[in-house]
Amino acid sequence: MAVVSKANIVREDLLRVEGVTKIFDGAVKAVDNVSLTVASGEIFALLGGSGCGKSTLLRMLAGFETPTKGRIFLAGEDITDLPPYKRPINMMFQSYALFPHLNVWDNIAFGLRRDGLPNDQIAEQVEKMLGLVQLAKYAKRKPHQLSGGQQQRVALARSLAKRPKLLLLDEPLAALDKKLRETTQLELANIIEEVGVTCVLVTHDQEEAMTMASRIAVMSEGHFLQVGAPDEVYEMPNSRQVADFIGNVNIFDGVIDEDKADHVTVRSADCLHYVGHGISGHSGMNVGVALRPEKILLTKDQPASAYNWCEGEVTEIVYFGAHTTYHLKLASGKVIKAQALNNTRDLSYGLTWGDTAYAYWNERAMVVLTQ
């Protein structure tokens, strides 16, 4: 899904944020002692719900807010106290903030003109940017004469025109409708990759973060819950909050029964889990076992295995076209979700409301959450 390979190459740190805190009105801690490094060429996503502090952090990187505490370094230089117009950082604003009185050409040229470049160089760079976002034909149009997707590309061209060391993207796709978002997402990622600019992206949309970013920081209440590659954060969430925020998840509360180097067993109200890897815990410890809906299989026949299955009643069948989500009510009253890929045209399990079904899963499907 994501461009994982690129992140693994070791590169020098471009952006370094050290213990940054932002307190508003002397009381509200919007960002709480956050540290992070972003390597050159990386696309780093700040993911979180509204009010988690991700936008404040981004605004501090752009220079619109000053940190209450902590320092921000760009390519080794302390930029904490630089005003926005002196930072080699450009931002693509949420809903774009294209200047309504200037046409596309002048919007893209705005930043270059501020650098006092000669006209022919400005023209050359603007043409290049227009080519990059495929809007050469629209150069003379005003922003309001463009569609949402075109405006988004102008905004991208404008923020890339000055060849910033760091590009900030504030909810880059939030203003587009779903269908357009999918194509634009890829386009955006491709352009950014082509230019090779380092990016910090703010989004509340986990899909957007996972498809675009090489690393994701999941934020809540001003601090990072987990930082890692998209698959890492998805498949190995380090807490219930992260597991819950990224995608759908079923969490079984249980107690560690057997704690071995190569496996653990966890007993929960409805079933016995056999987890095929060791964890840092001890027997008798209260844990949560996280299980993604797409990793659960359903059957009408009772599985023979002693582990990793449970019995329930089908209470809800939600058809999505490509897949179907079944809600299964277990004996304890807990409802779990199982997602089935519709790989044939008849619904694969032949289950209907009220049927008794058995959910089962692989020993490598689960994550044990100790936090």
Partner: protein
């Protein structure tokens, strides 16, 4: 089907009625008086009243148009000078109001949301007192033995009173003072709607605070600038009370000439001709403004 179309017809009639009211209003209160003034300007003055345009002496109606007043307005240097001087004072008033009003409106729009209504109140507070009274009050401040001269003399800053009253200076004080709110209000309305993200985007792209103001804030508040300037300039051209009370005998303004023609010379056609020319002078900037407005609209559609 029939019923639907009849209710639809009623609805359309109602719509014409609603749209028609303002048109009738404008017709009665703007166009008709204007035509009467135009008619008077083309008549001759008889001993106590204006001559009739219609003449029946030949047995059929003939219309007599008398352009004497217009010819006089065009040839007499006094009128020409008065128009120029009126326009000069109106332009000066507009420019000074803009210079004071724009920063005023800007900081008002940027001030914390909860104190903005109070600031707005303070702008409108002078309207609670009679306009005439406020202009008289300036007189007591500006005359030779007035408040300002007395204070400066008692402080020893000056030994002779400064002659402020009955000069272009006192006229401009009165004009700017009276018209400033009409500049501030449309500018404030415009600037308070200005999206801060445009300013941030400009700063982000490397524009210094001054450049942000000049390249983004000013162009985006153009509509407010135009509206404020028109609201000040148009009434300022024809102003009568302020030059009469504060301007002294030497400040020429068209409003005073108009008054003299009407009430001292009792020459209605002449006064009307002066007024018609003044209206034409004012209509020119209005037409430019309207064209600008409709262009703005066309761009928006």
């Amino acid at each position: 089907m029939n019923k639907v179309s009849s209710t639809l017809r009623k609805f359309i009639k109602g719509r014409y009625l609603v749209i028609g009211i303002p048109y009738v209003w404008l017709l009665m209160l703007a166009l008709v008086p204007l035509l009467i003034v135009l008619k008077i300007s083309l008549s001759e003055m008889e001993s106590t009243s204006v001559s009739s345009m219609m003449d029946w002496t030949h047995g059929w109606p003939t219309v007599k148009l008398n352009f004497a007043s217009y010819i006089f307005v065009a040839t007499d240097a006094l009128y020409y000078q008065t128009y120029i001087s009126s326009l000069k004072y109106a332009v000066m008033t507009t420019v000074i109001c803009m210079a004071i009003g724009y920063p005023f409106a800007y900081f008002m729009a940027r001030s914390p949301k909860h104190i903005q209504p109070t600031l707005l109140m303070l702008i409108m507070l002078p309207f609670w007192t009679s306009f005439l009274l406020r202009i008289y009050a300036w007189k007591t401040l500006l005359v030779d033995n007035g408040v300002i001269n007395n204070i400066l003399m008692s402080l020893g800053v000056i030994h002779e009173p400064i002659a402020m009253m009955n000069t272009p200076f006192s006229l401009m004080i009165g004009m700017v003072y009276s018209y400033l709110p009409f500049m501030i209000l449309p500018l404030y309305a415009n600037l308070s709607k200005l999206d801060m993200r445009y300013l941030e985007a400009a700063a982000d792209l490397g524009a210094s605070p001054f450049k942000v103001f000049w390249l983004i804030t000013v162009p985006l508040s153009k509509a407010g600038i135009v509206a404020g300037s028109m609201l000040v300039f148009i009434p300022a051209v024809g102003e009568y009370v302020i030059p009469e009370l504060l301007g002294g005998p030497d400040t020429l303004m068209i409003g005073r000439v108009l008054w003299d023609e009407f009430f001292s010379n009792n020459d209605w056609p002449m006064a009307s001709a002066v007024a018609v020319v003044m209206i034409l002078l004012i209509m020119l900037p209005m037409a430019i403004y309207n064209k600008y407005q409709s262009e703005q609209m066309a761009v928006k559609v």
